[in-house]
């Protein structure tokens, strides 16, 4: 059964900012699914539509079996949302934030009191529960966000960039918490991230999103497995003249999927370690000085490069949608 189904969602913001261009995907109940893409790819807009905050211009979606446009109230009862921008009230304590959040879902009295205490404890905020949220560290505030998203025991949890802006230690803690939620609570989690390693680590399936569309979808392992062999990355000392690097490397046996981007060259090789000396020799013959050379096993970075047609970071310079 699918806990989330998005089908051909489209959304254009005023000023002709095309945020979603027919995005479609489905998430199996009880699994962690990641939408991976650079800022402005349309991940947050997708989450806003699936959580009933925003409406699509075209397309449809269901969450927990309910249509987001026709039965928004049923969707709202079934989901928990941790938005990219924290929704914590900084002038209230952690306990007050959790209590109000519970009240908005109709929890009351002893049951609510117990649940709030439980959540504070579980997210390591028991001692800080009586302090104003504005005194919390970034990691604590994020944990409070997640605790609030879960206070009413939702079936589906949306985590929009849950670790952006966190230091490495807080990020590791958040990862462990997400993994635990997925295993113990059998929650369906939709995670958006622009960290490749985050999607790789946490998600059972992922979709790479670029310019408002899904460019490829699958398990992290399968996506990486589709790439033949190792990844070779060469940094030249100076940007090569037009086509020279390409011409030099095309003749090297065992090299495929060559891309040239300024002074950085990327290619795939069946046996990376054996190909590097040949690549270096070919570049030397062509008179191109090499500054750096690396060989690596395929990563999601390479998957992204292959399907989006450009290096992952390059997408961040495109116009950012709201």
């Amino acid at each position: 059964m699918h806990a989330i189904e998005a089908s051909s969602l489209e959304k254009t913001y005023p000023g002709d900012v095309r945020a979603l261009d027919g995005i479609s995907f489905a998430v199996e109940a009880g699994t962690v699914f990641a939408l991976l893409g650079p800022n402005g790819a349309g991940k947050s807009t997708t989450v806003k539509i699936l959580t009933t905050l925003s409406r699509p211009d075209a397309g449809s979606a269901t969450v927990a079996g309910h249509d987001v446009l026709r039965r928004p109230d049923a969707v709202r009862r079934a989901i928990g949302v941790v938005a990219q921008r924290s929704g914590v009230d900084p002038d209230a304590t952690g306990r007050e934030n959790l209590t109000l959040q519970g009240e908005l879902y109709g929890l009351r009295g002893r049951g609510l009191h117990e649940r709030v205490r439980e959540q504070l404890e579980r997210f390591g905020l028991a001692d800080a529960g009586g302090r104003l949220a504005k005194t919390y560290s970034g990691g604590m505030q994020r944990r409070l966000d997640v605790a609030m998203g879960l206070v009413h025991r939702p079936q589906v949890l949306f985590l929009d960039e849950p670790t952006t802006g966190l230091d490495p230690e807080a990020r590791a803690l958040m990862w462990a918490e997400i993994e635990r939620l997925a295993q113990e609570e059998r929650l369906t989690i939709l995670l958006t991230t622009h960290y490749l390693e985050e999607a790789d680590e946490l998600a059972e399936r992922l979709a790479i999103v670029d310019r408002g569309r899904v460019v490829v979808e699958g398990t992290p392992g399968a996506l990486k497995g589709e790439l033949r062999g190792d990844s070779i990355s060469i940094g030249l000392a100076d940007p090569p003249a037009n086509g020279r690097a390409r011409a030099a490397l095309q003749a090297v046996p065992g090299i495929h999927e060559l891309t040239v981007d300024g002074e950085s060259l990327r290619a795939r090789a069946d046996d990376g370690a054996a190909a590097v000396p040949r690549v270096l020799a070919a570049l030397d013959t062509a008179g191109l000085a090499v500054a750096t050379a690396t060989v690596s096993r395929p990563s999601l970075d390479d998957v992204y490069l292959r399907y989006a047609g450009r290096a992952f970071g390059a997408g961040e310079t495109t116009k950012e949608a709201a």
Partner: protein
Amino acid sequence: MTFPPLLRESWSMTVRDLRNLVRQPWWIAISLAQPLVYLLLYSALFRKVAEIPGFRGGSYLDFVVPGIVIMTAMFSGGWAGMGVINDLERGVIDRFLVTPVHRGAIVTGRLMQLVIVTVIQSLILIGLALAIGADFPGGVQGVVVLVAAAAMLATAFGALSTGLALVLRQEESVIGAVQFLLLPLMFLSTVFMQRELMPGWIQTLSGFNPADWATQAGRGAVAAHADWGAVGSHAGYLLAFALVAAWLGTRGFRSYQRSV
């Protein structure tokens, strides 16, 4: 006792707003001190207005106290949008909107807080006025009507300010509306001056001014021989205005959600 969900949710919101308010002691101090200063200054500055031929009733202090109570309520309402913009910027409104909470509760919660604050503020003002010698011949029931009129006006402008904040989403818009709309409304009314002593065109305009309706209802009720018909009709206009404003304020969410 079980309350309908809308009321219960509104009350949760009210408690939050009141709590956040109490945690800003400076804000409380300023919002109390300002009307008190106005009360003292205006009643002193315009004391001789009572000597103008045609001025009815007792002292200018007696006359101006209901006006200041109404004016204070109107400005409290006008500034309500600032809290909404704060919440929008912090993502708090977005968080509320993805819960099953009634959209109306997000507005009415804030308005209930406004009513509570306005009642307390008005009673403090009236208490101080009594202490410096003001007289309310209409007695307790007159004061109740005055405070109710103040609360209704605060609610109406609070709802409009909330709607404006949701549509324009900028602090400047709320500041601008308070400066360019509320200030003239205050002067185009009987807040500071008896109707018969105002220029004809202001008399005409004041007939369409909710601030004037509230002032007439409140001042009429605390007067020696209340004209309950006039009080009632002004209170009726005011109530209708408050209901329309509350509806418009809640409509603001639609405009906001279209922009998300």
